[in-house]
Symmetry: C2
Subunit: 189 residues, 2 copies
């Protein structure tokens, strides 16, 4: 079973965090939500209080297949500035481990130099925070071990891309159909 750690901070973007958890768990991936706020309760950008599975300081990340950073403000700046997460991202990246970030959260990767020479996407206007990256303006961009996404509605292609990378191409096809995503793309207004 693949294991993903997704990092929750106060001010995270609700959809980017919880649609990603929803889709990955539907796919059978072992997802652990991890608070970086020192206790298990975080408050989202839109005022929803969520109880995470784990608190960073008490978590062993040695089985991580992927680390995921949802966006939102000030959620993304909390992620960027939290030193224990910085160290984990650097060591995971050195091993070639998969890392994903969406919306404003790619700033946490740019800040550590993890986007140098890479194609990446982010929320429009945040491009300058992706230090060293070539912004694509895409909904979702995969470049080497780094997956980036653009914003709330892009959480769907972002999470489906993660599923396909972890479980194999086409693994998200059934979810796209069953979650009415294909219907949305065909007939949404």
């Amino acid at each position: 079973m693949k294991t993903v750690y997704i990092f929750f901070a106060d001010g995270l973007e609700d959809i980017e965090a919880l649609a990603t958890v929803d889709i990955l768990r539907r796919a059978g991936i072992n997802v652990k939500t991890v608070s970086i706020m020192g206790n298990e309760i975080i408050t989202s950008a839109h005022g929803v209080r969520i109880i995470t599975d784990e608190v960073f300081e008490h978590t062993d990340f040695s089985d991580a297949d992927m680390l995921v950073l949802p966006g939102g403000l000030p959620g993304s700046t909390h992620l960027r500035d939290f030193e224990p997460l910085q160290k984990l991202l650097l060591s995971h990246n050195e091993k070639g481990g998969l890392i994903a970030a969406i919306c404003a959260a790619p700033m946490a990767l740019g800040n550590l130099g993890l986007l140098n020479g890479k194609h990446a996407t982010c929320y429009p206007g945040c491009e300058d925070t992706m230090t060293g990256a070539q912004p694509t303006g895409e909904l979702c961009t995969v470049c080497g071990n780094i997956i980036t996404g653009q914003g709330p509605a892009a959480a769907f292609p972002f999470a489906y891309t993660i599923v396909d990378i972890l479980l194999g191409a086409g693994s998200s096809d059934g979810l796209k159909e069953g979650m009415m995503y294909r219907h949305l793309l065909a007939e949404g207004e």
Copy 2:
């Protein structure tokens, strides 16, 4: 300010509940999340624990402009079978009040006869639970005072439709753009 109560039960569909809260709050609507489980902590269909704003038994709904039912199983059956909510839905409907339900949750309206003679949509396969309704198969359907939605990805058009009904046509246009929804519809895969 418009006020919306959205009902949370164990087994609710994460995206349908939280994308709706996110979008309505972005629009400036006063959204109150209300647990029907007797205490403020509910656990979603995908294992996320959420602390609601209110518990049903201690809430005054007299200022409600709209009542919203997210889907998911067994969340929707909990909503359908909770008698105090049944009474609230019936009295709100009698006054011509707005009611919205998505995915499997229209069963809670069909069960009370609120869909008789109405066009409505729901998660494919749940049509028989919408007693008296004419199923449309649409992502989102508005018929009189009842708004229904189809499933997780349809939470976007469902919530944008609620915004436009409560705040006026076109009120969700900026959100559709800023949340990358228009980009998703144009280029999603």
